[in-house]
């Protein structure tokens, strides 16, 4: 009985995610990554469509890092980044929007390019 109580105390706690994560993600995407890619495309260091593709790669890469972090928290404990808030009202469009942009880009790319 005492062992069970000690084990319960020693088990790593999983804490709720902070609310501001999506704002940080959007800030990184639109204030840091997008301008860098735009400048690279403007000076022709990067093909314009490669810049657009790179932007979507960044979105999916950030989602990958976040989901990997949350998976590690589920396994070993710690503070979640978005898990548990991903379903919160108001957050759904952040999940859907990148995919809409990606699908629009891909189909627009081969339909009009």
């Amino acid at each position: 009985m005492a062992d069970t109580a000690v084990a319960s105390q020693n088990r790593p706690k999983r804490r709720r995610p902070p609310a501001h994560v999506w704002k940080v993600v959007l800030a990184i995407l639109f204030i840091v990554i997008a301008p860098i890619l735009a400048v690279l495309a403007a000076v022709q260091a990067l093909e314009p469509f490669a810049a657009i593709s790179g932007f979507f790669t960044s979105i999916v890469a950030i989602l990958f890092v976040i989901s990997l972090w949350d998976l590690m928290v589920s396994l070993f404990g710690g503070r979640y980044l978005v898990y548990g808030r991903a379903r919160a009202p108001g957050a759904w469009w952040i999940l859907v929007l990148p995919w809409c942009l990606l699908v629009g880009f891909l189909f627009g790319h081969y339909a009009w390019h």
Binding site: S8, R11, P12, K13, R14, R15, R16, P17, L46, E47, F49, A50, S53, G54, F56, T57, V60, A61, L63, F64, S67, L68, D70, L71, S74, L75, G77, Y80, Y83, G84, R87, P89, W92, L95, V96, W99, C100, V103, G104, L106, F107, G108, H109, Y110, A111, W112, H113
Partner: protein
């Protein structure tokens, strides 16, 4: 048995439609890949699959693909909304999430384990997405103004589109339908 209900007719209908769409997509994509392989393995490749410039000439500006894709994206999403799971049906999943997020869930909990499996599948899916998009970015950038050493994925798609417009229209519609169906956020119905 009174009081218990199996999956509704709506759910069966939704599952059947999405499974048929997925299977049709797999078969038509396989057929396309074999055709592209045939075309590229021949010495006299048609102009449609030789270079980006010729691809553009062959394809032109076809708004049908884009319009059909957008329409089927929304149709897929609406079909998902047609059969939203009830709060009772999603209760086990919510319980597992609460165990994970709020408490230190016991490792032997099956619901928690299945939730972690879904999380791991998402990580894998995103990893594959990053890999494919990274390749696409690199290939698009490296082939700028030069004969392509490695084709971007979108060039294969355009090659396929040039081979047969109508089948391309069907495939684009199916992909959009499935993306809209599976990725559209659906909150559970309140009871």
């Amino acid at each position: 048995m009174p009081g218990t209900r199996g999956p509704s007719a709506k759910r069966y209908g939704r599952l059947v439609v999405s499974q048929i769409a997925a299977l049709t997509l797999v078969f038509t994509s396989g057929w396309y890949l074999s055709r592209i392989h045939d075309v590229l393995s021949r010495d006299t490749s048609p102009a449609a699959c030789v270079s980006a410039g010729q691809l553009l000439t062959t394809l032109g500006h076809d708004a049908r693909l884009a319009v059909a894709s957008v329409c089927f994206f929304f149709i897929g999403g609406l079909l998902a909304h047609f059969d939203v799971p009830s709060a009772v049906e999603t209760a086990p999943q919510k319980t597992a999430e609460n165990l994970l997020v709020k408490h230190s869930a016991p490792a032997s909990n099956d619901m928690v384990r299945s939730t972690i499996v879904v999380q791991a599948a998402l990580v894998l899916f995103l990893l594959v997405g990053v890999g494919l998009l990274g390749y696409e970015t690199w290939a698009v950038n490296s082939s700028h103004g030069e004969p392509p050493a490695y084709w971007p994925i979108t060039w294969y798609v355009r090659c396929a589109a040039a081979l047969d417009r109508n089948v391309s229209l069907v495939i684009a519609s199916l992909v959009s339908f499935l993306v809209g169906h599976w990725l559209w956020y659906r909150p559970a119905r309140r009871q």
